[in-house]
Structure formats: C-alpha cells, structure tokens
Amino acid sequence: MFRQLRNRRNLYPPLVVVGAVPMKRKGFVLRFAVLLPLGFLLVVLPWVQTHVLQPFTQWLAVASAALLGVVGHEVSRVGTIISSPTFAVDIRNGCNGVEAALILVAAILAAPASWKNKLIGVLGGFVVLQAVNLVRISSLYLLGFYNRDLFDLFHSAVWQVLIILVAFGIFVFWSLKIAKGRDVAAAA
C-alpha cells in the first residue's frame, strides 16, 4: 500500500500527498488546529487580560527599559509605554510574545509526548521565547529611535515572523531532542 502511495505521489505530487498525510501527523495537526483557537479564547477573556496579560506586559516593559539602560539608552516607563523625549513604544498584545507562546504551547500540547516532557517544553520554551522577545522590544525601540522606516518594516513583518520562527525552532528542538529522546528511552 505504501509503495502504491509512493508511486502515485510521484505521478501527482500536489494532490495525492494531501490525502496521504500519515495518521500520526494528521492527529497532531488536528489537535494543533483545535488547541490554537482554544488558547486564543483563553487569552481574550477579560479576566485573563486584566489579571495576567496586563501585569505581564508591564513587567516586560520594565525589563525592556532595564535592558535598554544596560546598552546606554536611558528611557522612562509608564505602564506599558517606554519613552524618551524623541520616541516612544507602547507594548500591546502581539508585541508581548503572547502569539508566539500560544503557537508553542498548542504545538507542544498537540505532540505525542509525556505530560512531564510537555511541561518542560512549555516552561522552558516560554522562558527562551520571552528572552528573545525582550531583545525584540528593545531592538524595535532602538530602530524607531534611529530610523522610523526600518522600525515600520521590522515591527509589522520582520520581527513578527522571526519570533514565530523562534517558537517553531524551540518546538522542533523540543520534539527531537527532549520529548522524543526521553520518551523513547523510557519505553525501551
């Protein structure tokens, strides 16, 4: 049967492979596609916005301001706004890394692994992701300070894609090196 699929795949590449997604992968993709909207519904709850995301975003602003201070840019911070006399950024949903975190968590929860490994992936991945996000926010502030055109490009596209790629990279690393390896080792 697999040989037949392989032969058919060679004849009609775009059409046949869609129907021939192996069940294991199909299950993962379906779980991911269900978990992502569920995660979204969770983060748009007013209570989560007020009690979790807003304080967290303020903390990000504090940390970003501190990081900018380390590289020699003294800025002031009010709430989620980092500013200097010539430029200011307001960190909102989408800039606080919540979108990348949701993608990462949905992918890890959807993957076939033990709950212990999933927890390691979610917690470790979140820390790494937010460390990168701090660099993102600080670099965006610096870009805006020196070059507004570059700021627009990096803010609206480049960093958004990069942060998702970081989440994707963390997931691939986790699935290949942590979840899979240990699960297989435990089962052996």
């Binding site: 590449p13 993962f28 992502l36 990348a100 993608i103 959807a110 899979k180």
Partner: protein, 194 residues
Amino acid sequence: MSRLLLKGLAGFALGLALWLGLTEPYNRLVAVSAEGVVRLFEDPNRTDLRPDGKQVVIYRSDVPVGTKRPGIPLHDLTFNVILLTVLFAIDRRPFSNRNVGMYLLSLLILFPTHVFALIAWVQDLYASGFGGEISARYSDLEKSVWTNAILFYRLVGQFGIPLILRWSLTPEGSAADPAAPDSRAPKKRRPRRG
C-alpha cells in the same frame, strides 16, 4: 545546523522580497476578491474597496463625500507569506519537485485566507467602527463574531495557517516533524543468536 540556518535565511530573504515586491498587485487582487464577496451579501451594493499603496481604503456609496475614509493596512494581513516561504525553504530538499509543488499549493491556499481576513476586518469596521445607521444593522452577536474573527486571525491565525500547511503537506521525518524519529534515541538491539 548551519545549513538549516542558511536555508532559513535564504527563505526569509526570498519571502521578504516576494512580499515587498508583490504587495501592490497582490493587494489589488485581494481587494477585488474581497469586494466581490462582500457585495454578494449587500443589496444594494455599497462597498468599494480601493487599494492605495499598502492600504485598502473603504469607500461606501452611502457615506457622504468628504467623510474620512478608513484604511486597512493589508500588508499586516499578508506577511505570513514570509513565514510560509521559510518553512518550505528549510526542507531537506527545498528544490525538489514535491517541495516546490507543495509550496505553490500552500500559496494558493493562503490566498482565500487573506481575502477572508480582509472581509472580516471590513465587517468589523462596519459593525463597530462606522457607527450610525451602518453599525446599527449588526447585532451584538455579529459585532462580537467579526471583532473576534479579525483578532484571532491577527493574533494567531495568520501564523498558525502556514504551520498547518507545512505540517500537512510535507512527509513525515522532515525537520519540523513532531513525530520524527530521534537519531540519538537509544535503539533496541537485536539479540544475538548462537
């Protein structure tokens, strides 16, 4: 690892060039398609979506001339093409017929999602942004649905779709495969006979 990074960088550069270079003609195509779909549900037809650089400006025939026209930054809805390009560029054999075919198929699938995102944003503006008689035609449920639809797309949907396409259209065992066998994992040894 360095080859993977190089492939990723090349994919990123290609995706960025595609997105920047084709933004204006692509915006026209998305705007015309979205306008056609919105008009299917309008009687009489009021919506006129006109691309203006990176934006799509909403002209409505029942809004007085001189009123400020709201614009939608369409490039904010379409940049996931860069992510999609990177995801296919990091394949083990990025230039194989299969991978290129799947990438082109993914681009085709991405197009209606961009049209839908623009429709959702237009409807959200009609429901909540225009006010007056236009917004009064929408129920609270409709307002909530359109607002959350565009919010979902912008927050996670536009990133989730390329990932789902990548995972659905590439074979098992590729770099992005959650079920890929780990080469470092200890393998069961066959017991020796004799």
